[in-house]
Amino acid sequence: MIFSPGVEAPVAKLLRCVDLWSGVRGLSGGMRPIRQLALVEDKPDAPETVVLGDISSIFEQVLGHPVRINDHTDIVEDLGMDSLGVMNFVMAIEDFYDISIPLDRIAQIQTVSDLIHAVEDLRSGTPE
């Protein structure tokens, strides 16, 4: 049997955090404080809202069905994405915003708000 991948996530669906390297942060590890961002309903004109809307439609393209997301949405847990889905989703986000999200940044992203911050940082050229 072969079980030695570059992207090690033995049971992709049990992955809670988007960790394309080890996957082993799985069930108990990898949790981090969730930064609070405005929800779509609360601040329709805030710049985050625009990003959230774009991200939502990219999710829908990748998953092939409508999704309801907010800043707290856990990308793997709440949207039922497996490791391949996450990889495709990250690539689609990268294309849309014309950025590359380095692997160590991807590993830190768990929620939609984490993703928004990463995209904003990378677009503005802020390293961390």
């Binding site: 049997m1 079980f3 030695s4 570059g6 996530a9 996957g23 069930l27 490791s83 014309d98 380095p102």
Partner: protein, 404 residues
């Protein structure tokens, strides 16, 4: 709750696979192509033993001779007491084979990638990896503190786009690709990748682990076959496939190459290869160079298996290389198919996600120059039989030319 409770999910997978009996232990290995498994003589079609040199009489003699005269191990690092005449001779032979100035030998192929990638790419540098890279490349990328970016598998366009996004940023760029990818047996579009490299001023490293001794007129791998050896700054490879032993290496013309001997931690902080392994590897490299017939039989066998499986209606990888992967519709079918093959006397690799690209389940075969035509035909007959028993090769599917 133990300290390993964090791996509960993986534990479930491990237990499930164990209960399916997919963890194999050979009772004995009889030749490069046959072993005893559960008391049954079994054809080995999943070994990476591309040139079939593991039982080569000359290689064994050299290993025995070196072991008798120099002992079973060096008990030390290359940078301390672990460098013998054989290690230097092997490095010289590899540099000569690749036509490069410098070579470095590591104790495993895994460590070669770990050591080289972490030494080449430091903080502030950029490492661009094919998304389907081997675990050793991903792990090496973490050891070096550089910024790691994946590009779409075998897509020079995506690679170019990502290098363009980096324009203006300080730091070196290193592109890493593999000669043959170990799951589907597909090769990298190296000519196009080399063009991207030239245009963007990046460095290029090719891991020829599965392509050394397999591709190229002289067996130097994909860089040779694609005619772009001058564009490849670093070649990494292994002794545990075509050369039938264990160990890894890197060759290059970089004038500062030798500094890596004191900055590659996976080179320094491990024992060097035992004299017997070094001696058999040197002999295997000589055989690879002197006997192009070995490569010719390998390619003949690969084509026979690939086209045979394809003609039956199995969905195979994109190219007829010595790794021939057969796609299965799901994990249950993959496991059932694999077990029946084994019960019929055919061993190959069961590859399941996440080891595989695109979450596909594969029956992964690898042929050897040492397989006889009769063995390849027997393997094909077993595939046909199991395919029919499982209702996998229906007439409709055969006509459609695919099973997915």
């Amino acid at each position: 709750m133990t300290i390993l409770a964090k791996h509960a999910a993986q534990r479930l997978v491990y237990d499930a696979l164990h209960s399916h009996g997919v963890d194999v232990r050979f009772d004995s290995v009889l030749s490069p192509t046959e072993g005893m498994l559960n008391g049954r003589r079994t054809i080995l079609l999943g070994t990476n033993n591309y040139l079939g040199l593991t039982f080569d009489a000359a290689c064994i003699d050299k290993a025995v001779e070196a072991t008798r005269s120099q002992g079973t191990g060096t008990t030390g690092s290359r940078v301390a007491n672990g460098t013998y005449d054989g290690h230097v001779k092997l490095e010289d032979a590899l540099a000569d084979f690749y036509g490069r100035e410098h070579a470095m030998v590591f104790s495993t192929g895994y460590q070669a990638n770990l050591g080289i990638l972490s030494a080449l790419v430091g903080r502030g540098d950029h490492l661009l990896l094919d998304a389907d890279s081997h675990a050793s490349i991903y792990d090496g990328s973490r050891l070096g503190h550089g910024e790691v970016i994946r590009f779409r598998h075998n897509s020079p366009d995506d690679l170019y786009k990502r290098l363009r996004r980096l324009s203006g940023a300080p730091g070196d760029r290193l592109i890493v690709v593999e000669g043959i990818y170990s799951m589907l047996g597909d090769t990298a579009p190296l000519k196009e990748i080399a063009a991207v490299k030239r245009e963007t001023g990046a460095y290029l490293l090719v891991d020829e682990a599965h392509s050394m001794g397999v591709l190229g007129e002289k067996g130097r791998g994909l860089a040779e076959a694609a005619g772009v050896e001058d564009d490849v700054d670093f070649i990494v490879g292994t002794f545990s496939k075509s050369l039938g032993s264990v160990g890894g290496f890197c060759v290059s013309n970089d004038p500062d190459f030798d500094v890596m001997r004191i900055v590659c931690r996976p080179y320094m902080f491990t024992a060097s290869l035992p004299p017997g392994v070094v001696a058999s590897t040197l002999e295997a490299l000589r055989r690879l160079r002197r006997e192009p017939a070995l490569r010719a039989s390998l390619i003949r066998n690969a084509h026979r298996l690939y086209h045979g499986l394809e003609a039956m209606g199995f969905q195979t990888g994109p190219e007829p290389n010595p790794i021939v992967a057969v796609a299965m519709p799901n994990q249950e079918m993959a496991v059932a198919f694999w077990k029946l093959l084994l019960e019929s006397g055919l061993y190959l690799n069961l590859a399941i996600p996440p080891a595989t690209p695109s979450d596909v389940c594969l029956l992964r075969t690898s042929v050897s120059a040492a397989h006889t035509t009769a063995q390849i035909d027997t393997a094909l007959a077993i595939f046909a039989d199991v395919g029919e028993r499982l209702g996998f090769l229906s007439a409709d599917k055969r006509r459609a030319g695919g099973v997915a």
